[in-house]
């Protein structure tokens, strides 16, 4: 009798617990489903502030991308070629079949692009014909420009050895500039970056440096990530660590082993420190 009584009590407690859990889950689900259609889920791909993907269903239950609920990063690609265009002419990649090298256009994400080259730097004016450029590569800071591009206040790339017009075209400000002074599209920054970082360009072309997604065969259809999708061109090394990549929030850590409240045991160094 006593046994039955205890059993019943345990059951009742479990049942009660279960009910509260289910109720809590339902409560958590309801606002999520209500909010979902309101605004589309956008997740960043490589670094925050560069290329992004908007989540949508390609077919029922098969999204083009899955985003991390913790960090908002792209976690899984259903369609690696979403929103891509052909890369264009790239020396060294002529042997690839037509349409097998794709990139995501960078210009869509650059908010200032439509203004550049039309409003302020339109390439006309007394000092541009013929262009008279400063000789010391130390431009006077223009508050408007520094306000629009915060990285310029403490410009890091090249450590004072390069300046704006080494990379940006002098008269066509919505273009970059290559070794020969010819304009280069913002969608093909590799043609510009390779001017100095030739070893990295070679590795990138061979797929050793940087990121490619799609088909792994060497002549397969791939989306190539261009330089500026991963690196911030104005501050590549990000100061803190010499890896060329901006710090970001990590995804959650794994489940703790059974019976462990935290992972402080991992911080004890197994080798005595001197």
């Amino acid at each position: 009798m006593k046994k039955i009584a205890t059993f019943a009590t345990v059951l009742a407690i479990c049942g009660g617990g279960l009910y509260t859990v289910i109720a809590a889950e339902n409560a958590a689900e309801q606002p999520a489903t209500a909010a979902a259609p309101a605004e589309p889920l956008v997740c960043f791909e490589s670094r925050k502030g560069a290329s992004e993907v908007t989540q949508r269903d390609l077919k029922p239950g098969w999204p083009n991308v899955k985003c991390s609920p913790t960090t908002g990063a792209a976690l899984w690609y259903g369609d690696p070629f979403d929103g891509t265009v052909p890369m264009g002419k790239m020396p060294g990649l002529e042997n690839l079949p037509e349409g097998h090298a794709l990139v995501k256009p960078r210009s869509e994400k650059l908010a200032l692009m439509p203004l550049c080259g039309t409003s302020c730097h339109n390439g006309v004016g007394p000092q541009f014909t013929p262009p008279t450029l400063p000789k010391d590569k130390k431009p006077t800071p223009i508050p408007t420009m520094a306000g629009m591009v915060p990285d310029l206040a403490n410009f890091q790339h090249g450590r004072d050895r390069i300046w704006c017009l080494d990379c940006h075209h002098a008269t066509k400000r919505n273009m970059l500039v290559d070794n020969f002074g010819d304009p280069v599209s913002f969608d093909q920054p590799q043609l510009l970056c390779g001017k100095c970082h030739g070893d990295k360009l070679r590795d990138w072309r061979d797929g050793i440096h940087g990121k490619r997604i799609g088909e792994f065969a060497s002549d397969g259809k791939k989306r190539w990530f261009t330089c500026t999708e991963c690196h911030n061109p104005h501050n590549v090394q990000d100061g803190l660590r010499n890896k060329g990549f901006i710090q970001l929030q990590p995804e959650p850590s794994p489940q703790l082993p059974k019976g462990m409240a935290d992972a402080s045991h991992e911080k004890l160094h197994p080798i005595p420190q001197h």
């Binding site: 791909e45 490589s46 670094r47 029922p60 239950g61 098969w62 899955k66 991390s68 990063a73 792209a74 976690l75 899984w76 690609y77 690696p80 061979d206 797929g207 050793i208 440096h209 940087g210 990121k211 490619r212 997604i213 799609g214 088909e215 792994f216 065969a217 060497s218 002549d219 397969g220 990530f225 991963c230 803190l240 660590r241 890896k243 990549f245 710090q247 970001l248 929030q249 990590p250 995804e251 959650p252 850590s253 794994p254 489940q255 703790l256 082993p257 059974k258 019976g259 935290d262 992972a263 991992e266 911080k267 160094h269 197994p270 080798i271 420190q273 001197h274």
Partner: protein
């Protein structure tokens, strides 16, 4: 035997000679045979009757999809011994079952290894920033259990190890000598961190990469001589011709021999019933790859067979934000991995064990 002798010597037994089971013959072996044969036949008859009834019951319920599937699954062969028809049958059966269970159209692929392909993997250890995006991409792709409440319910195949960065320091120049000996036998100005595979798996800083840390992701190395395959008592894990070590989950008995044998901590056991919400389940699966597993079977990384057999990069390669992960065909000299092997500094984890991993770590 000892027990039998003891009972026969029991005085109570001896005082009851009228027992009907007493031997009629003088030869005890014959006598025993005779009486037990009757019992045996009786029991055998009962058993066969009951099993026939059980079979009949199962066959009669054949329109009940679940029972029929269970029935067929219990009697299917090891995947490597199945004929093409049996594979097709198993595929159709699994597709029907999973589609019912997860409420969407699930495909179970049985594509064989492609000729001329030997898959290889390379990871740039200098680039990794420890963001664990590969870990979670793997979970999104491969239908692992993702419960939160009970221990062992959350399964991840990739582990990212955070190791302290070692460095030479001027103030440590005199450290490392044994004290009181008077003889200098070798000093150590080096902070011995990062020299051994000891580090943190549960690190959780606000931002990665941390300044004083190096990160090392570890998963299945797809060895050419896999210790896990050697020890499997039911031969359910084996190396496929394209180099991937796979598991036929249906034949796994959950003995965990492979987990003990693997020097890379790559294998996971489903201790509990896997927790896989319907809406998160990936409906594109491979029989030897990411199809939903059951409780009590071992699973591990298989380089996303459901993708790579169709030419696509594995999920972890596609999400790595720094492009540290590289995947390709080792037999193609133009592939990424072949070029890394030709051009970069490459090492294999625990190479001294002669497991010959096809997973290479490299640095610029």
């Amino acid at each position: 035997m000892a027990i039998n002798e003891k009972t026969s010597a029991d005085p109570v037994r001896q005082s009851a000679p009228a027992c009907p089971a007493q031997p009629a013959s003088a030869d005890p072996s014959q006598a025993v045979l005779k009486t037990t044969r009757r019992d045996f036949l009786k029991a055998g008859g009962m058993l066969s009757m009951s099993s026939l009834m059980g079979t009949a019951a199962l066959m009669a319920q054949s329109d009940d999809a679940h029972a029929a599937i269970e029935w067929a699954e219990h009697f299917q062969k090891n995947y490597r011994l199945m004929t093409a028809e049996e594979k097709a049958e198993a595929k159709a059966r699994l597709e029907r079952r999973y589609s019912g269970e997860y409420g969407k159209e699930v495909t179970v692929d049985t594509t064989e290894a492609q000729p001329g392909v030997l898959m290889g993997y390379a990871l740039n250890i200098r680039k990794c920033i420890g963001c664990r995006r590969c870990v979670h991409a793997c979970v999104a792709e491969n239908n692992q259990s993702r419960g939160k409440d009970r221990p062992g319910e959350k399964i991840e195949w990739i582990q990212v190890l955070r190791m302290e960065r070692g460095k030479f320091e001027q103030e440590k120049m005199n450290h490392g000598y044994p004290e009181g000996l008077g003889i200098q036998v070798g000093g150590n100005a080096y902070t011995p961190a990062g020299q051994v595979l000891e580090g943190q798996y549960h690190y959780n800083p606000e931002k990665v990469p941390e300044e004083d840390a190096t990160y090392m992701p570890i998963a299945c190395m797809q060895c050419e001589k896999p210790p896990c395959v050697k020890v499997c008592p039911v031969r359910t894990t084996y190396r496929e011709p394209d180099g991937v070590v796979v598991i036929d989950y249906n034949w796994c008995i959950g003995c965990r021999m492979c987990m003990g044998a693997c020097p890379y901590w790559a294998r996971r056991l489903n201790v509990t019933n896997p927790v896989l919400p319907k809406e998160e389940m990936n409906p594109v699966t491979h029989y030897l790859g990411n199809r939903p597993r059951m409780r009590g079977v071992v699973e591990k990384c298989h380089w996303c067979l459901q993708r790579s057999r169709h030419g696509r990069y594995p999920a972890c390669v596609e999400v790595c934000p720094v492009g540290a992960r590289k995947f390709g065909n080792l037999l193609d000299p133009e592939s990424e991995v072949s070029k890394i092997l030709a051009r970069k500094n490459v090492f294999r984890l625990k190479a001294e064990l002669n497991t010959f991993p096809k997973f290479f770590y490299f640095y610029d």
